[in-house]
């Protein structure tokens, strides 16, 4: 293979380098041969700016930018680059679940960190292993990168390179740009000893979580402002970002015990206090979701956050209504039909001898009659799927459900899920002040859950006009108003009580499900309390909303 011309992915030299790279890890893998990086390729390909190499841990495809490697004069390092990427697949992190767990831990220690350090962490682990046999090749990649970058680099990268100098027994400043040494000496006294101590401690730790806490406690010194951290390091962004399922597993507790143990040991060793890292308690799931998604780019953030929040609320909903929807057995055949002639080939069981004797008398034996039994179909009323309209108050008196647990939202989701699991349909009306958000009729839980996660956060202005409109449209719906004492204030407005009465008259049932004082609620709603289609359900504390919603769903929709 020529050292100057970039090879094609089909080059025989590539296949040989790939074989050698697999041999570095001495494991049997089923990875496809590497592909050449091409800008703008499919969705699974890297989106960053001109990567050197990366592995897509979803498709387990290694991709190498031969052209960039050639420009850096590091084509001779192909085996090491391949081995590096294979290392992410076979060992560090192997699964993105670990990457997600470490990112959650990282956000706990360094709030507002813009770019995760986990990739650097995994690279340190991979390069130690690959460097046992191919240190010089890896060093050539870093030298080539620095040459292309003109020698200017960040303190973080200088320290990172000093670690490799110590690890691979290289002379000082053989990787770190000579021009940066003085700056580093002045700004970070003892940084070389720091790198040496790091190497001699980090690689001797046996638990990956403890290694990570030690890594963060050391590297934080070289990050002047975590909220602005953005680094470009060869092979420094080659592990993809964990997806929402990976993070969701962490929120459900995956790796949290190991993280707590690691933090405990780090506290004992003084790593956290000495480095100035924040020692925060484990956050509630919604805060964790907020921390994870805060640093994501805007468009990706909203969808990612909503998906994770939705999964979290689903678990909360399931705590109250996990019962599987009942499977209705087909109705039994019990109703006799008319008598017909029995013929050879028909089932003898279908012969109705009583009917035959009554019809044919002594000739019954030669001319039997049969009668089928028909299923007893339930009445159309019983077959009705419940249609439930949920009016959810999302005024500023309750938190945004995406950042803190909003028990009213949860209650609305429980009602919606209960109806849908009973083969019903749900319409959500999320209101505050201003025009309410109205969904179409929803047939699946996920859609309903996500819709009901919406939030306005303004004042409270119950949409009586909408209640009237929907009551006209569908008089068989069950309507549930989920609110607090603000609803009582709304209902005192001129004309509001009349519209409420209209809504009650044109609903199968209308439930005011309120977190409010009972006496005040009874007094305000006195004009409608005796209406047979109205129910007042009072919740005494916000923490009881969810259980009350489950009980209400059982009472209204049937257990």
């Amino acid at each position: 293979m020529s050292a100057s011309r970039p090879p094609a992915a089909t080059d025989p030299g590539i296949a040989a380098a790939w074989r050698d790279a697999l041999a570095v890890w001495d494991v049997q893998t089923t990875l496809s041969p590497p592909q050449s990086h091409e800008k703008g390729r499919g969705k699974s390909h890297w989106k960053g700016d001109e990567p050197l190499a990366y592995i897509d841990l979803t498709t387990r495809q290694v991709v190498v930018n031969f052209e960039l490697l050639s420009r850096m004069g590091a084509l001779g390092s192909l085996t090491a680059v391949f081995a590096h990427e294979i290392g992410h697949h076979v060992r560090f992190p192997h699964t993105l679940g670990l990457a997600a767990a470490l990112q959650v831990l990282e956000q706990r220690l360094i709030p507002g960190l813009k770019q995760s350090l986990t990739n650097l962490f995994f690279d340190l682990l991979v390069n130690e292993y690959v460097g046992r046999t191919r240190a010089e090749e890896l060093a050539a990649v870093y030298r080539g990168f620095l040459k292309a970058a003109g020698g200017e680099t960040s303190p973080l990268f200088c320290f990172y390179l000093a670690i490799y100098e110590e690890l691979w027994g290289l002379d000082p400043a053989s990787l770190v740009p000579a021009g940066m040494v003085e700056t580093m000496d002045t700004s970070y006294p003892g940084w070389r000893a720091d790198a040496r101590m790091f190497v001699q401690t980090f690689y001797a730790l046996t638990d990956v979580h403890l290694q990570f806490v030690y890594f963060v406690s050391t590297f934080i010194r070289y990050i002047p402002d975590p909220s602005k951290l953005q680094y470009v390091i060869p092979m420094g962004a080659d592990v993809p970002q964990p997806d929402e399922d990976d993070f969701d597993a962490v929120i459900r507790g995956n790796g949290s015990e190991q993280a707590d143990d690691a933090l405990e040991e780090a506290r004992e060793r003084g790593w956290i206090k000495d480095s100035g890292l924040l020692d925060r308690e484990e956050a509630d799931p919604l805060t964790t979701i907020d921390r994870i998604t805060n640093h994501m780019p805007g468009s990706a953030q909203a969808a990612f956050r909503q998906a994770m929040v939705s999964k979290h609320y689903k678990r909360l909903v399931d705590q109250y209504i996990l019962k599987l929807p009942a499977v209705t057995p087909p109705p039994e055949a019990a109703l006799p039909s008319v008598l017909e002639d029995w013929e050879w080939g028909d089932s003898p069981r279908s012969i109705d001898w009583t009917g035959t004797i009554l019809a044919h008398g002594p000739l019954a034996g030669v001319h039997p009659l049969q009668r089928d039994l028909l299923p007893d179909e339930p009445s159309p009323r019983e077959q009705d799927m419940p249609a439930v309209e949920v009016y959810l108050d999302t005024s500023g008196s309750m938190p945004d459900p995406q950042t803190a647990l909003n028990t009213m939202t949860l209650a609305a989701q429980i009602l919606a899920a209960s109806a849908i699991r009973k083969k019903g349909i749900v319409r959500g009306i999320v209101y505050s002040s201003g025009p309410p958000l109205v969904s179409d009729w929803m047939y699946d839980e996920e859609t309903a859950r996500r819709f009901l996660l919406r939030y306005a956060g303004g004042g409270t202005d119950y949409p009586f006009a909408l209640l009237k409109k929907f009551s006209d449209e569908r008089g068989d719906a069950i309507r549930v108003i989920v609110s607090d004492s603000d609803f009582l204030y709304n209902v005192r407005a001129p004309g509001a009580m009349d519209k409420l009465k209209y809504g009650i008259d044109h609903s199968r049932l209308l439930v005011a499900f309120l977190a409010a004082g009972e006496a005040q609620a009874r007094e305000t709603l006195e004009p409608v309390l005796r209406y047979p289609r109205f129910r007042l359900a009072i919740v005494k504390g916000l923490d009881q909303f969810a259980q009350a919603a489950a009980d209400l769903a059982d009472a209204v929709l049937g257990a």
């Binding site: 360094i110 709030p111 507002g112 110590e166 027994g169 970070y188 006294p189 003892g190 940084w191 070389r192 000893a193 720091d194 040496r196 101590m197 190497v199 001699q200 401690t201 690689y203 001797a204 046996t206 934080i220 010194r221 402002d225 975590p226 909220s227 206090k273 000495d274 480095s275 100035g276 890292l277 924040l278 925060r280 805060t287 907020d290 921390r291 805060n294 500023g396 008196s397 309750m398 938190p399 945004d400 950042t403 803190a404 956060g457």
Partner: protein, 188 residues
């Protein structure tokens, strides 16, 4: 015969240390090694005096680890081969060895690959041996690189700087955390 550090380390890994060696037992194992090399071991009295007595409180731990490595790996046989009876001065060589490994704890020697390698190399240096596959220059360079006393002395500067920066960093991170919490906040 040169010492094969890799082999000794893998033998040590295969022989976990169930409990620390009593000091008297450790002394006996080192004495046995010297006897096997054809040397008269230091007397009990000499073991209680400098330089064999060691200086630090970690001395007994280090003796225990040395005894463990001698008893469970090929370090003893290779040491016996390496010791030059005519020139070896046990009190001086052992004294220099304990001086060089002074800051190493038993846990470091047991669990940290770098510290274990340093400990072994210091012992090899003390008995006048060489390391397989390395020139004397390479071995010296590696030993300098592994020198924990030197690292600690230099690291002290980094540690002091880190601690001086810690308060400022903690404030910066706390402010970031407060900003995050404020962004999540909701009107009561």
């Amino acid at each position: 015969m040169p010492f094969d550090i890799k082999r000794i380390r893998s033998e040590a890994q295969a022989a976990p240390l169930p409990s620390p060696y009593p000091h008297d037992l450790a002394v006996a194992i080192v004495n046995d090694t010297l006897r096997m090399a054809g040397l008269a071991p230091p007397s009990s009295k000499k073991w209680k005096q400098a330089p064999l007595k060691g200086k630090g409180k970690l001395h007994e731990e280090q003796m225990g680890m040395l005894a463990h490595l001698l008893a469970t790996t090929s370090l003893r046989d290779e040491s016996v081969s390496a010791i030059d009876r005519a020139r070896f001065d046990a009190p001086r060589a052992l004294g220099a060895f304990f001086e060089a490994v002074a800051p190493l704890t038993a846990e470091m020697i047991r669990a940290n690959a770098f510290r274990q390698e340093e400990f072994l190399r210091r012992w090899i240096e003390a008995v006048g041996g060489s390391v397989a596959g390395e020139s004397a220059k390479d071995s010296k360079k590696r030993l300098e690189q592994l020198d924990y006393r030197k690292t600690l002395a230099e690291y002290d500067r980094a540690e002091k700087a880190r601690q001086a920066e810690a308060a400022r960093r903690a404030k910066l991170l706390q402010e970031a955390a407060d900003r995050e919490a404020a962004a999540r906040g909701w009107r009561e």
